[in-house]
Subunit: 139 residues, 2 copies
Amino acid sequence: MPERPQNSEPHLRTRRDHASETAEDYVEAIDQILEVRDTCRLTDLARRFAVSHVTANRIVERLQREGYVTTEPYQPIRLTRKGKRLASECRKRHEIVFQFLLAIGIDAETAANDAEGIEHHVSPATLERFREMSNAGSS
Amino acid sequence: MPERPQNSEPHLRTRRDHASETAEDYVEAIDQILEVRDTCRLTDLARRFAVSHVTANRIVERLQREGYVTTEPYQPIRLTRKGKRLASECRKRHEIVFQFLLAIGIDAETAANDAEGIEHHVSPATLERFREMSNAGSS
DNA sequence: CGAAAAGTGTAGCCATTGCTAAATTACCGT
DNA sequence: ACGGTAATTTAGCAATGGCTACACTTTTCG
């Protein structure tokens, strides 16, 4: 009988779905790009993530499959409502982590970098604590 | 001409980052298991990460290829000096993140989970700040 | 000792995310 | 309007990390 992975609590977090992180990063990026330009193109994403446009295309395809974005051939990328919702959540979370890092004395550039890595791995409880602490420091 | 990411080497971006994280997690786990048992077997790792022994084996093969562990067929897994060094670094870093989360008031279980996700994404500068703050709070 | 159980290894499948190369489409500017 | 350039799609390869199924070795126990 093959062993069947069941409850290995400590590492379920570590084994989190990388695909979700990618989705969040891309949706967040699309949202940000749409703030500045009127359209978001594949090339924008490829540049942003320093990957080839082919890779970006693959990921956009997956996002579309999962209902976060819509595209038509050779057309710009738009966020669905679901995509916008996710982007909004990610942005809030990102901002909390970023402000928290600033509040504890990390320089802005480092804080921005670290926030991108950390944001996907913070539990709601910890996030809430981060928010409390950055509010206390900045108010 | 297709845009070319600065990195000269192919397939070396996020993929590499994830592979490094996996390596760190496994080396760290092997080190911890060797603290309790006298030997570390494939099955121990498979259980720990809640994956099949096949997946664990794949990763151990890679670790061996990269010089972190040594194994012989049907024999336990041992850390090389390089592997022990990496494990030690990971353990320190993990401990700093964990203690920091405790210091800011996160409960132990959540802190343990979050630390595993966060530890791979903290810059040296932020890590140092974490260390200062947990020292200040717990001493 | 010998057979069952546990542990490992191998083959082969899939998805994701990298890439290059080449084909296709859209967008300009002359 | 046409041709060139930029953007996009498609095809196809590699590495990582998931899996099942099956073969094989080691260990354990009756």
